[in-house]
């Protein structure tokens, strides 16, 4: 009796999961299908390409702006991630371990920034960056990415640092470590899952951003892939570059998928840690 109820539940849950997965993945599948279709089939509305071809991918890489954009995307996302996570580690450690005036203000402010609508600052930022010479540079994108991802990284990492017993810092200090050595050799390694989580979240944000990238760049020197996609042109002015855009979309999705698949356990552990005392 109980076994049958259990089996029934399992089937129901399985169906629900399948429905959600289909709902989420159908657009992705559509883009993949589009990227494999030759130009003549693009508007035929069939789900599977009749004569799959890699032409679109070849075309994308032939266009000089795409490799440049890929380079920009990788560089900018990587630098943003490293710098933001490093800063967030120090900030989170200080917030958790030290008692200083304005601590709540920092945490509250960080949260406020994370909730701030990005669209409301791109205009002023555009003007500022132009006069500061940051327009269309890597730094010009790295700075806003860090600003918007630091709060999340700080909150994630503080949750992790809070779990690390204070006795360990003290033990390290008594064992002969400087405060920085204690942090580097004991605290940071123990917070590694949190660092991974924060890093992945920052990377995905920087990698996926379109708003800042389209507003604050103008040439191949800093334009990232999401922005570059908007500048793809068809073979002629009467032709939509649908196939190329689809191919480029597939290419930029692959790294994220790989990263998430590799670290999904860590991300889940990271996102939920601190919620329940283990």
């Amino acid at each position: 009796m109980e076994g049958r109820v259990g089996a029934g539940k399992k089937v129901l849950w399985g169906l629900a999961a399948l429905a959600v997965a289909a709902y989420a993945l159908l657009p992705v599948a559509w883009v993949v299908s589009l990227s494999l279709k030759p130009g003549s089939e693009l508007s035929d509305g069939s789900f599977l390409p009749k004569s799959p071809t890699l032409d679109n991918f070849r075309a994308v890489f032939k266009d000089p702006q795409f490799p440049a954009a890929l380079r920009n995307s990788l560089g900018i996302a990587a630098i943003s991630t490293v710098v933001a996570v490093l800063l967030a580690m120090f900030a989170a450690y200080a917030i958790v371990r030290l008692d200083f005036p304005g601590k709540r203000l920092v945490l509250g402010g960080a949260l406020a920034i994370a909730m701030f609508p990005a669209i409301s600052i791109v205009g002023p930022l555009f003007n500022m960056w132009r006069s500061l010479g940051l327009y269309d540079t890597w730094a010009g994108l790295i700075i806003p990415y860090m600003t918007f991802t630091l709060p999340l990284a700080i909150w994630t990492l503080s949750a992790f640092f809070r779990e690390i017993p204070w006795d360990l810092d003290k033990a390290a200090r008594v064992d002969g470590a400087t405060p920085f050595q204690a942090f580097r050799k004991v605290i940071a390694p123990l917070a590694a899952p949190g660092v991974f989580t924060a890093a992945i979240l920052v990377f995905i944000f920087a990698w996926n951003d379109f708003l800042f990238a389209i507003t604050l760049t103008s040439t191949n020197s800093a334009r990232t892939v999401p922005a570059a996609l908007a500048f793809f042109t068809g073979a002629s002015q009467f032709e939509q570059p649908t196939g190329s855009i689809a191919a480029a979309s597939v290419i930029v999705t692959i790294p994220i998928v790989i990263v998430v698949l590799l670290f999904q356990r860590r991300i889940v552990a990271g996102l939920t840690s601190g919620a329940v005392k283990g």
Binding site: P165, L168, A171, D175, G176, K185, P189
Partner: protein, 408 residues
């Protein structure tokens, strides 16, 4: 090897609370020194100041004559073992033990040799490549000890290192720590809230209460001559019976019996009249039926109703209910000691330690004998011990326990 001197050391926190007030004492080279007191008495703060994890607000801490107030903990060459063990979970046992040496940038072969030596001493050799998560509580405790021993520090500081172990292991590790300390001969400061640990381990003990050192001395001194009511109630298990009493001319009126004062008592009481607190160790009672006339004549007897009897095998504890309610001061003290098994003074209930052969029964009346030479007297207002001026107290350390053991 180090002598640690505390010179009028105080600690005030930012919110104005004073955790330690004017502590002055010297921990001798090679001594096993205990800081004991109920939770929140400032003993851990004091330890953290010695090791440098807390700043000293006032006063001076000197190690071998050198002031260390502003010396960073890493430069004090002291090793610490804490209640949570604080072994690094991401390192193997070997890496944990080697950590202080690696920080000190010792040569690789020397590190390996020292780690092996220490592992052999602590019987950790087979566990060197395990992670802390694979170890039992006792083994983790040993790793923490190993990390402390490995660098041959000036002093060991231990903050309740045994509190997380189960009762049996705690007794075993207690013996091991005592043996280890004797073998290494290194100055050790040991913090505990457990008076049994304090009594069994310490060469000398400092008892703290609310940040103030109450008394400093050997376990025997503290047991035989507690300086005040707090020490009296804290040291000893079961705890000393603390009773409100009155001095009325030449008679000391206890709740259960009047005691005619002899010369020895009178010399201690001097001209005090009125309320006093009388302390009686459980072993200062006896089953009157088991005593010969000579011993009975050295005390008073009274009849009492036995509430509960705890038979321990070698001895038994009889709990006697008194109708008298206790005084307010004693109730307060009891609350403070309350966290402890010592329970202290809130009893309108006496505990008497009787010989196992006594046929005392719960619910029955018994004729109890009280050794009047073994009474501890304290002033009610201050809680301080009433002692003969300049003289040795009546209770003698060496003869006390034997003299009051019931006749067999």
């Amino acid at each position: 090897m180090a002598t640690i001197e505390l010179d009028h050391v105080s600690k005030r926190f930012g919110d104005g609370t004073e955790a330690v007030h004017d502590a002055t004492f010297t921990i001798d080279d090679g001594e096993f020194f205990i800081l004991v007191g109920p939770s929140g008495c400032g003993k851990s703060t004091l330890l953290n100041m010695i090791v440098g994890l807390e700043d000293v607000t006032d006063g001076e801490i000197r190690v071998d004559g050198r002031t260390v107030n502003d010396v960073d903990p890493k430069d004090r060459n002291m090793a610490m073992v804490v209640q949570s063990y604080a072994i690094y979970p991401h390192m193997t046992v070997r890496e944990n033990i080697a950590f202080p040496l690696r920080l000190a940038k010792r040569a690789k072969d020397e590190v390996a040799r020292r780690v092996d030596e220490v592992a052999a001493i602590l019987e950790l050799t087979d566990l060197l490549d395990r992670r802390p998560s694979q170890l039992s509580g006792g083994q983790r405790q040993r790793v923490a000890m190993g990390r402390a021993i490995v660098r041959e520090p000036n002093a060991y500081l231990m903050d309740e290192p045994l509190s997380n172990l189960d009762a049996k292991l705690r007794v075993q590790m207690r013996t091991e720590i005592a043996g280890l300390q004797q073998r290494l001969g290194t100055t050790t400061v040991y913090v505990t809230h457990d008076q049994t640990e304090a009594m069994t381990l310490g060469d000398r003990i400092a008892i703290l209460r609310k940040g103030v050192v109450q008394q400093l001395g050997t376990p025997r001194e503290l047991y035989a001559r507690p300086a005040n009511v707090f020490v009296a109630g804290f040291i000893g298990s079961p705890a000393m019976n603390l009773l409100p009493a009155q001095i009325d001319g030449d008679t000391l009126r206890l709740p259960m019996v009047d005691v005619p004062m002899d010369d020895a008592l009178r010399r201690r009481v001097r001209d005090t009249q009125g309320d006093v607190v009388v302390g009686v160790r459980p072993e200062s009672f006896g089953d009157a039926a088991q005593l010969d006339d000579e011993r009975r004549s050295r005390g008073v007897t009274f009849s009492a109703h036995v509430g509960v009897v705890e038979w321990m095998g070698a001895e038994q504890f009889a709990y006697v209910d008194l109708d008298r309610s206790t005084s307010r001061e004693l109730t307060e003290l009891a609350n403070e000691l309350g966290a402890e098994e010592t329970g202290g003074a809130h009893r309108t209930r006496l505990v008497a330690r009787l010989d196992q052969s006594s046929d005392v029964r719960a619910g029955a009346d018994v004729e109890l004998w009280l050794d009047t030479n073994a009474l501890h007297l304290f002033a009610t207002a201050t809680g301080d011990r009433l002692a003969e001026v300049g003289g040795d107290d009546v209770v003698d350390v060496r003869t006390h326990p034997a003299a009051h053991a019931p006749a067999r």
